[in-house]
Subunit: 209 residues, 2 copies
Amino acid sequence: MRRHGIALVISAPSGAGKTTLIGRLREEFPHFGYSISCTTRAPRDGERDGADYHFLTRARFEELRESGHFAEWAEVHGNLYGTPLAPVREMLRQGQDVLFDIDVQGARQLKQSLGEAVFVFILPPSLAELERRLRGRGLDSEETIARRLRNARAELREAAWYDYLVVNDDVDTAHDHLRAAYVAATLRPLCRPDLLRALEQGALDAAAV
Amino acid sequence: MRRHGIALVISAPSGAGKTTLIGRLREEFPHFGYSISCTTRAPRDGERDGADYHFLTRARFEELRESGHFAEWAEVHGNLYGTPLAPVREMLRQGQDVLFDIDVQGARQLKQSLGEAVFVFILPPSLAELERRLRGRGLDSEETIARRLRNARAELREAAWYDYLVVNDDVDTAHDHLRAAYVAATLRPLCRPDLLRALEQGALDAAAV
């Protein structure tokens, strides 16, 4: 199969079940590529430069950012993080799919920088259920839960521009839907330049499937 | 689930396995709606007007055609056949999915008349394999097989404008792909006006999933 790679971009409010769903998708499709991010934060014990992250000074990060080096970037707790664009483009060109687990701000940047990416938003069935799940995890303080719910409300307003909405009520159904969004993306003609070329030439036999 | 209906349009050259694949899709999703076609051919034994077809005179058919009554129409062996547009639009509005098993000429007309339909083209893995399958069925004369292969070559050139290409090499994989194209279509925001409204209002709880 000589198709073009898919950039699959997945966002969800905290507590919607994104991590579980991405895990299940990766179980069936372990071939998704990773890109190594750049960051200005200090390496933690055992982290290696160029493997876990590219560790950069803030000045260098900003220089790269200004030159359009990043597919997306963000500042989190005073540190800068960014995804270099060129390696992602190269993976896609080579037919390697790349998965982005990213918030709505990052996704909006990827929409600009990547063009043909597929955007999936995972929603909880309701805000009441989201709150129930956040409490049920027992991880967060009341204050954190209140903040997560405020953030969720804001993020949900962005869902409308995503390509696909996956409501995570029943996790098996949500998995089936996320999987369908990804599989369908692989069937788009623009992902199969080899097949299109063969069809144009009336020589389907030339196309390895 | 109060979503908008999906118009799923499926084309394939003869021998690509379309009938089998549509049968398997309908097994899991028996809810697809049918529209009753109009035709100028004479009713056969047991066929009832308004149930099997709307049987029309040629003059009446042409009058309706000129008035934009049909989502698509064609002349086959001297008889006219057409799909009335209004009942399809009404089914879609009511959230009923509608499946069209139709040739590329009909699909091209549906692209104009239905707007948001989803177009899937089923391809054989190669023309050599298509020929092998046509012979294997033992249904067609050499002349018919040659004609079907010529038609297939012409039809395959149209595949590039379809939304999804499903290569039917292994039937289970092809079924999974056709199914994914359909399921993904149901996840598009434009199919979920209820959900979009709830998201805009920041009131996800109002959306029945």
